[in-house]
């Protein structure tokens, strides 16, 4: 048996790319890491494994807690973590969803080729930067009152459709058609709504960005065609979440859990794992509030996408319809969803498998349902759900499709990005924003514009894991199959 020793934690190799920490102490289930040895080496450098082991203490953890190949240390639950918690006798954990509820990525196609954009990158990046709010205090695309916030929370992208920020087709290419059932705006605090009000249609800062990209490779012609992707095509990737509204919602519920479910909290090794017992009023309230915040994030990305269409219209002097700027798909990578999965019965070692309703927590992980799954939108049901994996500014991104093995191995999930390798402080010591920007432009013809040079340094390509290696693991395990690769053309960030 091959083992990997990571500073006192022993991982046994179950099969290629699957490593397992056996339950010890208060762990309710094993903890699994899906990684190559090179990625495991990186994952074992910080507190990722400790946080993953801690996550298995959550009541109702089913089969195992999983760390994706791009996993890294977060707070409480690791980033790149998947945990399926029983929806009947388990719990739901705001900390295992993360602060940025429905942080996610969407990709919009165009029928432009790289040749048509070449030479106009600076004009394009300047216009995008001027028209898409980013950074701290940059406002939002729409000026709205609290009534609009309520509507957005309840109805999601349907609100955008009614108000001229979307077309019908956009809804059909978004998970849940852009409207989460069970959203309850009354469970979102006034404070959260006040924060969200100024930020509807804004990127924020940190690792969030908007990037114009060109498709460099299509690995699977049939699926590529179904996704409408071909080589040299220009696409737009948008990465952001639910802004202050989501962050506040997470903290509001962490504090409520601390006050109302102290008993459960005391059993957990990290306060940030705070969870509400399934069936409790607070679990219901959080689920309603989180679903509302999910809608808010979808509207946020929708407004940015629709604004991007207008920018392209001005720069290329054609209508967006003529440029066929259509939404390919929108994926969430910080979310918990009630889903039914076939699982092993809780921890008794028997082989009995049964269907259970679970709160599947994906924190820095993406749903990756295979073809035929009823929850994959009709447009893609014959090939599998599109999965968008953003890479760093210099490395490009991937489009995958949900793989056949995902339901058995990962509760229908795969990775969400390259995953950080280097701390922000170290990044700022090692890189200078201006240099990174200039190098990307000179050597890679990538045009970057950001509110702050520090953000560019902190997000420099060298601070991320190798996205190729992450995607290789996903592809070879069959949880998310490679469809296409893209490379940045221009990028704006906060």
């Amino acid at each position: 048996m091959t083992t990997f020793d990571a500073d006192g934690v022993t991982l046994e190799q179950i099969r290629e790319y699957v490593w397992e920490v056996k339950p010890e102490g208060e762990m309710r289930t094993p903890a699994r890491v899906l990684a190559s040895e090179a990625l495991l080496e990186e994952i074992s450098q910080d507190k990722t494994l400790e946080q993953l082991q801690n996550a298995t203490h959550l009541p109702g953890m089913t089969d195992y807690a999983i760390c994706m190949p791009d996993g890294h240390q977060g707070y409480g639950f690791p980033v790149g973590g998947v945990g399926a918690l029983d929806a009947e006798d388990g719990c739901i954990s705001p900390g295992a969803v993360g602060y940025d509820i429905n942080c996610g990525v969407r990709m919009m196609r165009t029928n432009l080729t790289y040749e048509e954009v070449k030479g106009r990158e600076e004009e394009l990046v300047d216009s995008l930067f001027a028209n898409v709010p980013s950074g701290l205090g940059g406002g939002g695309i729409v000026e709205s009152g609290i009534d609009d916030v309520e509507e957005i929370l309840a109805r999601g992208v349907d609100w955008a459709l009614e108000n001229g920020h979307a077309v019908e087709e956009d809804l059909l290419h978004c998970e849940d058609e852009g409207m989460r059932e069970g959203a309850d705006p009354s469970k979102v605090s006034q404070k959260a709504k006040d924060r969200g009000k100024n930020q509807i249609g804004s990127l924020g800062s940190g690792n969030h960005f908007l990037e114009v990209q060109r498709v460099t490779d299509v690995f699977d012609d049939k699926v590529g065609e179904a996704f409408g992707l071909s080589e040299d095509q220009i696409v737009v990737l948008i990465h952001c979440g639910s802004r202050g509204l989501g962050h506040q919602t997470c903290n509001d519920y962490l504090r409520k859990i601390e006050q109302q479910h102290q008993g459960m909290l005391e059993q957990l090794p990290d306060k940030e794992l705070a969870a509400a017992p399934a069936g409790s009023q607070l679990a219901e309230d959080y689920y309603g509030a989180m679903n509302a915040a999910i809608n808010f994030a979808w509207v946020n990305r929708q407004l940015i996408m629709h604004r991007t269409r207008k920018v392209f219209e001005r720069v290329f002097e054609r209508s967006w319809e003529e440029m066929e700027m259509d939404l390919l798909y929108d994926v969430a990578h910080n979310i918990a969803k009630k889903e039914t999965h076939t699982v092993g019965s809780a921890g008794d070692g028997s082989d009995v498998r049964e269907e259970r309703e679970l709160y599947v927590h994906r924190k820095g992980a993406t749903r990756a349902f295979p073809k035929g799954h009823p929850e994959v939108p009709a447009a893609y049901r014959d090939v599998g759900q599109p999965v968008i994996i953003p890479g760093s500014m210099g490395a490009g991104s991937y489009v995958l499709r949900g793989g056949e093995a995902s339901m058995d191995l990962t509760f229908g999930s795969t990775a969400h990005g390259a995953g950080r390798l280097m701390s922000r402080t170290q990044a700022k010591n090692d890189y200078w924003g201006g240099d990174v920007q200039q190098e990307l432009e000179d050597q890679e013809q990538i045009y970057v514009k950001a509110q702050s040079g520090a953000t560019i340094a902190e997000e420099a390509p060298g601070v991320y894991k190798d996205v190729d290696e992450v995607v290789k693991v996903s592809d070879e395990l069959g949880i998310g199959d490679k469809v296409a690769r893209t490379f940045p053309v221009c990028n704006i960030k906060g």
Binding site: L136, R195, G206, Q248, N251, R255, E272, R420, R424, T425
Partner: protein
């Protein structure tokens, strides 16, 4: 006495010290400002005040930073030069032992900050304060705190 920003893979942590609870709380809040921008203007912006109460000391620190982030987003100002004017522990008087249980709202602070308009600075967004690895401990010299912010 003061704060320093510490290494963290994805986020930013602040380590702070103070000779009193008031000063260590203020130092963590100044850490939030420093994590948001490298160039805090020496002048400009008006001071505003806030009050926060919670059921224990750690929760009070959490809620204080959470409130500053909330106020940042709704006032569109970055709170800098933070001062905790008064920290009150209603039930426990002077003993200030955080492990003792106390009723809700037993712990409260009155604080002020100078709100620098976000339009005048280039700042990045700290999403939230977290409980992850949070420490607030009494030492021979006063108090020490460690707080991770989500970026």
């Amino acid at each position: 006495m003061g704060f320093e920003l510490r290494e963290h893979t994805a986020d930013i942590a602040v380590g702070a010290t103070g000779d009193s609870l008031e000063s260590v709380f203020g130092a963590v809040a100044d850490g939030l400002a420093a994590a948001s921008t490298e160039d805090i203007p020496q002048t400009g912006g008006d001071r505003f005040s806030l009050t926060v109460s919670a059921e224990n000391l750690e929760a009070l620190l959490f809620d204080y930073i959470d409130e500053l982030i909330y106020l940042r987003d709704v006032r569109l100002e970055l709170p800098v030069d933070n001062r905790v004017e008064k920290l009150e522990i209603a039930e426990l008087g002077e003993s200030r032992t955080k492990d003792d249980s106390a009723d809700e709202t037993a712990y409260s602070i009155e604080a002020t900050a100078r709100g620098v308009p976000l339009s005048e600075i280039t700042a990045r967004e700290i999403k939230a304060v977290t409980y992850s690895e949070m420490r607030l401990e009494e030492t021979d010299d006063g108090w020490e705190a460690y707080v991770v912010f989500d970026v």
